[in-house]
């Protein structure tokens, strides 16, 4: 299972989870297998450069990465609607680094 963490900076396990989703800087895609981290990837967020439709572009990037869960402070109305339609879950986390909540999120999703 892949989890997409919305990040405020360059991404990676040390980065801060972003309060916002559509225009966050990057996504850290963590692949989890049997409760363990299998791989960590960082992809840029096309929504951060978008003049309009940022939320939708961000969801598209998440879908393309294969992630089924988004971890971010909150999703805007359009992104939320798209996530619901596509069955992508949202876990709300604020003010923490990816590595600090990784285990909690994995446990939550079992």
């Amino acid at each position: 299972m892949k989890i997409a963490f919305a990040c405020s900076g360059k991404g990676g396990l040390e980065d801060q989870i972003s309060d916002r989703f559509g225009r966050c800087s990057s996504f850290t895609i963590v692949e989890v297998e049997e409760g363990r981290v299998k791989s960590v990837d960082v992809i840029p967020n096309p929504g951060s450069q978008a003049g309009s439709g940022a939320g939708i572009k961000a969801i598209k990037a998440v879908v393309n990465s294969g992630a089924k869960v988004i971890v971010a402070g909150s999703l805007g109305p359009n992104a939320m609607a798209a996530a619901q339609e596509l069955g992508i879950k949202h876990v709300s986390v604020s003010g923490k680094k990816v590595k600090d909540v990784l285990n909690e999120v994995i446990a939550m999703l079992k």
Partner: protein, 320 residues
């Protein structure tokens, strides 16, 4: 920490409240960065008496098509395919009109010679000035006909984080409405200060902006401006606030001198420091100072318990 002043309805007093808060909170805490998040009709710089900018940055969020004439064979396919009629034949050349081009790239795809490039087009300017009150103001203005977007507000907030030192208090004066630029103003904010006036239109718009704060789980307080303009409507707004458990942090009386001081490019509290109106504005400042000083405990008792998503209705195509 970030405070956003929003209203839904335009002209209810956001900038009056925002400028008052910026000036008074900076006097006390010395850490304010003000952001005018209304790039269509910025006016915070007028109230704060900014007449020149220290720094300007071009903002691009759209793109326009550009024909490479070395490759172009003047076949005219681009003109035919353009829905916006942005390509015209002038003499023996096809020319893109920058003002009409929407950057949709249809011409780029259609061009048999691959002679069309898409180049970013400047939509507006972000500018920064240090106000005479000692705090920086980040403002923006869009070029005529260009679209507003959340990306612009995000860039303003990014700049605020860059120039602010240490524990910055960002005060965001949002635009009217609930569009993308207002959503970006609210996203990431700690507290929304909503402003309403006693009219049914204002209440209707207030409900919409309030729904947006519930979507983002942002705690909210309310200011009723021009409240004695119509006491019955003001009461209706207060009843709405009570029902939703929104704290009313101030009621400002209707004062013709407010638009007058704006016309004179002066903050009201400076022009008329001894008025009842200024007294009520300063009471609001005190309420916000209290919230700021006791943030952790105030937030625990006032944060929304759960998000109430405010999502667009999705129209699905009918199954065959």
């Amino acid at each position: 920490m970030e405070l956003t002043i929003a209203s839904g309805k335009g002209g209810v007093g956001k900038s009056t409240v925002a400028s008052t808060l910026a000036i008074e909170l900076h006097k006390r805490y010395s850490n304010v960065v003000a952001i005018d998040a209304d790039a269509d009709a910025p006016n915070l710089h007028l109230i704060l008496g900014v007449d020149k900018w220290d720094r300007e940055e071009a903002f691009t969020s759209t793109a326009v098509a550009e024909i490479d004439y070395e490759k172009c064979t003047s076949c005219g396919v681009c003109k035919d395919i353009c829905t916006f009629r942005a390509i015209k034949r002038i003499d023996d050349r096809y020319v893109v009109n920058d003002m009409l081009c929407e950057g949709c790239r249809a011409c780029q795809f259609a061009c048999p010679e691959e002679a069309i490039k898409i180049k970013p087009s400047e939509s507006g300017l972000i500018r920064i000035a240090v106000t005479k009150y000692g705090f920086p103001l980040i403002s923006a203005k869009l070029h005529v006909g260009k679209a507003n977007s959340g990306k612009l507000v995000m860039r303003e907030k990014e700049l605020a984080k860059e120039i602010g030192r240490g524990n910055v208090l960002r005060i965001v004066d949002a635009a009217a409405g609930i569009g993308c630029q207002v959503i970006a103003s609210l996203a990431g904010s700690d507290l929304a200060i909503l402003v309403a006036e006693p009219t049914p239109a204002s209440l209707s718009d207030l409900k919409r902006i309030y729904a947006l704060t519930r979507h983002f789980m942002i705690p909210v307080v309310l200011v009723i401006n021009k409240y004695d303009l119509h006491l019955e409507h003001a009461k209706t707004i207060e009843e709405f606030a009570n029902k939703e458990k929104i704290e009313v942090v101030g009621k400002i009386p209707y004062d013709e001198r407010i638009p007058m001081s704006m016309a004179k490019l002066k903050p009201f509290i400076e022009e008329y420091p001894n008025s009842e109106t200024t007294k009520s504005l300063l009471e609001i400042v005190d309420e916000i100072k209290y919230i700021y000083d006791n943030w952790k405990s105030w937030w625990l008792t006032h944060k929304p318990k759960e998000a109430k998503p405010y999502i667009p209705k999705i129209l699905k195509p009918e199954s065959p």
